[in-house]
Symmetry: D2
Subunit: 339 residues, 4 copies
């Protein structure tokens, strides 16, 4: 196990606020100068636009007609985090997420989704129709609801960030619809209040971006969109020095989680579970074959999305099967305690 | 919605018992004459051997040395169910499953598993080692436990049937390690006490086979085996006339579930969810695009195994999001009420 | 290199003739008693029906209406080859293939093909239409031709066996549309006059089956069918003792070839090339990494079909890059010399 | 068929020369200001470094030790082509390619290649070793040769550009090892002397980049590298206005070709063939189902590489099966005539 030092230990806490103007939103991961510098340990209050760039404003707005080309999935940021260098890990603890409007939206795009031909699963069949489902947000009740024909579908609201990313490695700049090793559009519903997300740092300052709020989502996000919403966001950031990771990881009070975002789906699955085996051997003291056995008997998997240019899989181990180790030097406990 | 008739309605209930001798076990799905005829509505008490053909009897037995080639995953049956014809559905309700030994086994085979090269993901890398984990079964406590190095791993016991199958379509006979449209080695942990499984009937009498008891299993079964055990099995069988399905489906009190077993993993995923959309439109009154939306926001997925010649995915919808429809004409409620 | 013995060396040559009646055709690989016994070294003259079971007899016949369900891809045989035991190799040399009718057929089935949703790539898009293309066979000119709208498409005729199989391993019986380690519906256009095919022997007598003649086919067979034809077939069979192979291999005067049939397509590709690396190290004296390098610089690939339940890939190495080794103890040279 | 205009028709020809200094090489597709502006119709003489950044200079140099991280596959350019706008097509005709050194290199990297675990096919097996094969270039004889153990492997030399790209769409910047819709590291051996390559224009000026010369390569490039070489390059560029394409296309005197670069391999295959069907219906007057049939019977496929972050497949139709149409308004004939 590596001895870790937290950059924030010697820095006093700080709360900063950044509400982007629309023209400050970003449409790529990477490729932009920072909008603000954060100290490790800082608390950031910000806001994210919905994946429709805010252009779908009423139930009769058709996304393909009102949302400008190239304005998918706008991101807030990037934020330069002091002391973060390539080879470090950026820790982001989700303190709070709240919908900022009283409606949310889901829609089917022809040629996008898990049960349709797409640009990549390129078949000759006719396309499915475009359709919008308008959701009413009831913050008091904690639900979102829409009409499916004559019936009302009401779902508990559980806001999460569909996108969270550092700048990609190798100087890449990626479309905001694509997840990969830098994080990005992973659509992981565990990235909600109470979770700590670990992201690889690939460039100086990490260059954190956030966006694509979801209020509810099933496993696979198969129609291509979740219940999409603008969000008020409150997170805490910190830096773990000298601890490289290959793919994003997540902790909450119940689970440790690893992620993989690639195609085909079995490769995303393999990445996530191999990362878990590596984590278990690196920080939890398991021999490799025993870690493999542990995953085989108590591992859980979230197939969070099977619609984006890369698919995303999350592998999870419940803490009840783990020794009492606080990974990343106890970062999750530290971050949640002083929010 | 189709008008369904239950074959069992005009037949009196029946409890039969069949305990196979070892030489009566089967090593293929299909290809065998029935060992017994069951009336629709019958309750069957039987027993299944573990996936090692019972040949691994102590912690030092190495599966590749003691288990004879071609004796993988033995099955009990087949059972001929009266009135079942191709195009019908066989319903199997799991009344009870109990481990029949005080130990259970997991092992890693070189060349089999989700994080290793295999016969199909055919790479040149050196193989991983063979290893056995011996589990103690504590029926009183309801747990299984093994040693991972110096530590003890203890997991709640939840017995389920890794294999449940009708004879395959098109005259096929398949290896007992392979799942497909006939069911087979799906390794679905929801096929446990209280669940009703629906299988396509492909041949007269359906020819039900059962086997491969598991006491615990993580999502993906990545090392290649679950906690494997011989089981005492009690199930009820029935036939739904005139209601064809393409792939196995499952109901319990909480969920309706569809399955897909194929490669690559995204195709298994697509099959399962398309079956769910078809079910929702066929029996629950949803228009297709609304069914697609419903799945996208409240669908759940179990990636039960990513190790067999076909991978298996389960799509699930909680009943709380569904209208009060009893699918298959209420078969699940009927079967669980008079066990 | 293993010392090999040919069963036929001590047996005198034999020419036998078997023309199946329609009711003798088979609709599975495996699962049938032999129609005839062949001695190693025997020459077999036989006939194969087209993939439409001969039911499409004129341009206006619609396959889905005239071809009975379960009568896909009929096979001739099986032939029991004396001395062949599990762990041996069956060698089949193609002496001659001739179309037996003056027409041939191609068609598109809705839900079958490489650029359409299928039972496995299970999407919600509307299906493509069914369509038949009627080909005229000009034996004198050596071409087949059809109409594409107002134009005539004329293609050189090169008859080959779409299907060649031994009985599958592990007691399996497989649909005649599916290729796997036993061979089967591989649709490899190199299996034509002058080629020697090597098949794994899985059961006593090997149980050779042949069928699915094609007169022309592009790479991928993407519409789902080639130019399909009944064939007059003349082959020679022999047995190589004590030389197990995992997947079918092929030799002609120009190439050695290995095959893989699985999904996803990269796994079929990996199987074929890994088999080639194994062959090069086993019989041609290359160290493994050098064999890998050789394949990387001079390997050729035929993606023969991407439409069946498993996809088939052929890896090829030109003899001009190989040492003067006659693999399988010179079987190809021996078989072609005394035909 | 769309009426096309060639930007170059009203521009006089121009020959320009650009030899990059090492520090001018680029390590991403996109993300760089142009090094030079070309007029449509211009002839460009330039030079490309090998994929090892020129750092492997003798047989004992180990790539992972001498080639700096982040310096993979250096590219020459980008070149701004006047008049090219998003929605146009950039045409690049390969006039000549010559190796600029008397050696060339191939090597196996652990964790990269088609028959090994990789970052994406993430398995637990031990890695394969790193190894270098040093090739002697004999320009007079037109061959490259290396030692495989005691033997000499000699291969005809056929220089081609492994990389040719425009700047990616949506503002993306991509690693030079990755091919996608912008072209990039496709490793297509048809991109050699006499071929015309068509690339989608995504940004003003197209921003053409070239690199990664190969002197020979097998189908699949399975060890991860071809016979890698620095090249002298002579190409002609032109712009086709008002003719959008989704993926790169290629013409030579024998074939029209389409490409797809994605994962899994069947998706790359589908993209390439769907593009071909679209091309045949758009410019060659075929009805869609007839185009599908034509591809099915005479289509050819090159699986050029199965090693990069996306795999690349080329679909080809021989001109002998096509009506006498000159696609892209005859651009290929025009470009090859006045070189």
């Amino acid at each position: 196990m590596v001895a870790l030092t937290f950059s924030s230990l010697y820095l006093s806490a700080q709360t900063v606020r950044y509400i982007p103007k629309h023209e400050e939103l970003k449409y790529t991961f990477g490729g932009h100068p920072p909008v603000m510098t954060l100290k490790p340990g800082a608390i950031l209050e910000t806001w994210t636009e919905d994946c429709y760039d805010g252009a779908v404003k009423k139930p009769t707005d058709i996304p393909s007609q009102v949302a400008p080309i190239g304005r998918d999935n706008p991101q807030t940021g990037p934020f330069f985090v002091e002391t973060a260098k390539p080879g470090d890990v950026l820790a982001v603890h989700i303190i709070d997420l709240e919908p900022s409007r009283d409606y949310a939206i889901s829609s089917a795009y022809p040629g996008f989704g898990a049960l349709t031909t797409t640009d990549y699963t390129a078949l000759l069949n006719p396309l499915l129709p475009e359709k919008v489902w308008w959701y009413k947000v009831d913050k008091k009740k904690g639900t979102v609801s829409t009409k499916l024909g004559e019936r009302t579908l009401e779902i508990p609201m559980s806001p999460f960030l569909g996108c969270i990313a550092t700048a990609p490695q190798r100087g890449e700049v990626r479309w905001t619809v694509t997840p990969e090793a830098y994080g990005g559009n992973m659509d992981i519903y565990s990235i909600k209040k109470g979770a700590t997300v670990y992201l690889p740092v690939q460039v100086d300052g990490a260059l954190l971006q956030l966006g694509d709020g979801h209020l509810a989502q099933g496993e696979g996000e198969i129609v291509g969109t979740a219940v999409e919403s603008a969000l008020h966001v409150k997170v805490k950031v910190d830096v773990i020095k000298g601890k490289a990771i290959g793919w994003p990881r997540i902790e909450n009070d119940e689970y440790i989680m690893t992620t993989g975002s690639y195609r085909p789906l079995e490769d995303a699955f393999r990445i996530a579970y191999k990362e878990m085996v590596l984590w278990l051997t690196d920080e939890f003291g398991f021999e490799q074959m025993d870690a493999y056995q542990l995953c085989s008997q108590v591992g859980e998997v979230d197939v969070v999305q099977v619609v984006d240019p890369n698919y995303t899989v999350v592998a999870k181990i419940s803490r009840k099967y783990l020794p009492n180790v606080k990974p990343f030097g106890g970062m999750h406990e530290k971050m949640k305690s002083n929010k």
